[in-house]
């Protein structure tokens, strides 16, 4: 029986046979063909079956938060244990969109660089955050927290904000409105294509993908 959170009745665990060989085995690097459809919020089981390099079509509600919003959420959690957005099972997208033109739910909405959130992400992982979407590598502490608490780090294509905007159905500012582009927004997305960078099994797409093409000059 497929997980009810998986869309179109596809059981992601069975959609493609798992290939745990390192990608050096493949001459042209990682395959772009494996796609897993998932709906938010994510369960621990959802994230456990994801592997580095999987393409994921995410649908449902996700939240944007970047530098200043992270600082404030963590300060609030440390002060009295509250957060302006739910965290358990949720996915945070490191993004600050450009303004929407009339008649459009959003402006451009690509990812921002993730390492700036490294100082905060482990605290959110402790509170049940199941997914983060951004671009660029994460530090060791974050990767360990992701393994410990069960969270996946997804990559969206940096600089493809106009392309990504087409996956966004609606946007609502839900916290810190005064921060403008940095306010927390609740997005409803449909088939937002992301790639698993860090899975809960300790693998890293950047390390594995780049090692295939690295050579002595």
């Amino acid at each position: 029986m497929s997980d009810p959170r998986c869309r179109r009745g596809v059981d992601p665990g069975q959609e493609h046979p798992r290939d745990d060989r390192r990608p050096e085995a493949k001459e042209n690097g990682l395959s772009a063909k494996r796609v897993v459809a998932l709906s938010t919020p994510l369960t621990k089981e959802n994230v456990e079956m994801l592997h580095c390099g999987d393409r994921v079509a995410l649908s449902g509600v996700i939240y944007t938060a970047r530098d200043e919003a992270h600082r404030r959420i963590v300060a609030s959690l440390k002060k009295d244990g509250t957060s302006p957005i739910p965290l358990e099972g949720q996915v945070i997208y490191f993004a600050g969109p450009s303004p929407s033109r009339p008649g459009n739910p959003t402006g451009s909405i690509g990812p921002t660089t993730s390492y700036r959130m490294d100082a905060y992400s482990p605290v959110l992982n402790e509170h049940g955050l199941r997914g983060m979407i951004g671009k660029g590598g994460r530090d060791r502490r974050v990767r360990e927290a992701m393994r410990q608490y069960g969270c996946v780090y997804f990559g969206a294509t940096g600089g493809a904000g106009a392309f990504i905007a087409r996956s966004v159905r609606s946007v609502e500012v839900v916290a810190y409105e005064e921060l403008g582009p940095e306010a927390i927004r609740r997005l409803l997305v449909e088939d937002f294509f992301v790639v698993v960078i860090n899975d809960v099994h300790g693998r890293d797409l950047y390390e594995e993908g780049q090692s295939v093409f690295r050579k002595a000059p």
Partner: protein, 279 residues
């Protein structure tokens, strides 16, 4: 003496801010297409395909190329035989940026460095004004993204480190930057001058059209050598692994003090935006 009203500068800067953020240069698009044919990584080719499609969507004028519509860097060359009338040239440029970012639905990304309070209109722009011969005014607007700017560095090497030291610094900077600055990037390198001169040369190097090497053949050869070493890092499009890590390396050099070898690396993301007008 030729007179030019500063209101023309306001309108021009406004238009350039908008155009730069919606229309990617043909040179960059051409480089994407060439890379998409040559890139051996399947995922890399898919990313390049997304970038080409992204540029097509942006050119329709609804969604800017990237949500990070940048800090507005404005280079101005003012001919010494032009008389600017109608107000402060700096304020005219700031007003042009203000209008461009408001009317073009561009993101306002500028804040106080400590309080992080957003200025609300993407000003102040970073303005570089030079006086040049002639009676024209040339304006270049460069919306510069924060992610790639954060990966940029300036260093002061010792003269003994020489050409090899410069190469090592640039390649190592790219290796450390990895996926962060949105590869495939354009690498601007400024060598010589002083701390700030090297940084300015590196930024100006980003404005050179892709496919145009430095006119000095020795510097052009060095650009090519560094480019090849960067491709060998294996970072690839979006950092997922591949050969297309940089679309180009552009180097500008300037004489420096006998004690110094300043080197600046200014990385530009693939959304390499700049538009110019001559008035």
């Amino acid at each position: 003496m030729r007179e030019l009203h500063t209101s023309v500068l306001v309108e021009t800067v406004r238009d350039l801010c908008i155009e730069a953020n919606y229309r990617l240069g043909e040179d960059v698009l051409g480089a994407f297409e060439r890379a998409a044919r040559e890139e051996p990584s399947e995922v890399g080719r898919a990313v390049l395909g997304e970038l080409i499609e992204n540029a097509r969507i942006a050119s329709q004028g609804v969604f800017p190329l990237c949500q990070d519509t940048g800090v507005a860097v404005v280079f101005v060359e003012v001919g010494q035989d032009v008389h600017l009338v109608g107000g402060d040239i700096n304020e005219a440029i700031q007003e042009g940026v203000r209008r461009g970012y408001q009317e073009g639905f561009l993101r306002k990304s500028i804040c106080h460095p400590f309080t992080r309070k957003n200025t609300g209109d993407n000003t102040p722009a970073v303005i570089h004004i030079e006086i040049v011969p002639g009676e024209r005014v040339r304006l270049v607007v460069v919306p510069k993204g924060g992610g790639s700017e954060n990966m940029s560095r300036v260093t002061m090497l010792t003269p003994s480190e020489g050409v090899e030291g410069v190469k090592r610094f640039v390649v190592e900077r790219m290796r450390e930057a990895g996926a962060n600055p949105c590869p495939p990037v354009i690498v601007g390198v400024g060598v010589g001058g002083t701390l700030e001169k090297a940084a300015l040369l590196a930024k100006k190097a980003l404005l050179r059209p892709l496919g145009t090497p430095n006119p000095d053949p020795e510097i052009a050869a060095l650009e090519e050598a560094i480019h090849q070493e960067i491709q060998c890092l294996g970072i690839g499009p979006a950092g997922y692994g591949g050969r297309t890590t940089a679309l180009a390396v552009h180097m500008e050099v300037f004489p420096c003090h006998i004690a110094s070898l300043p080197v600046a690396v200014n990385i530009n993301c693939h959304s390499a935006r700049h538009k110019e007008a001559v008035l």
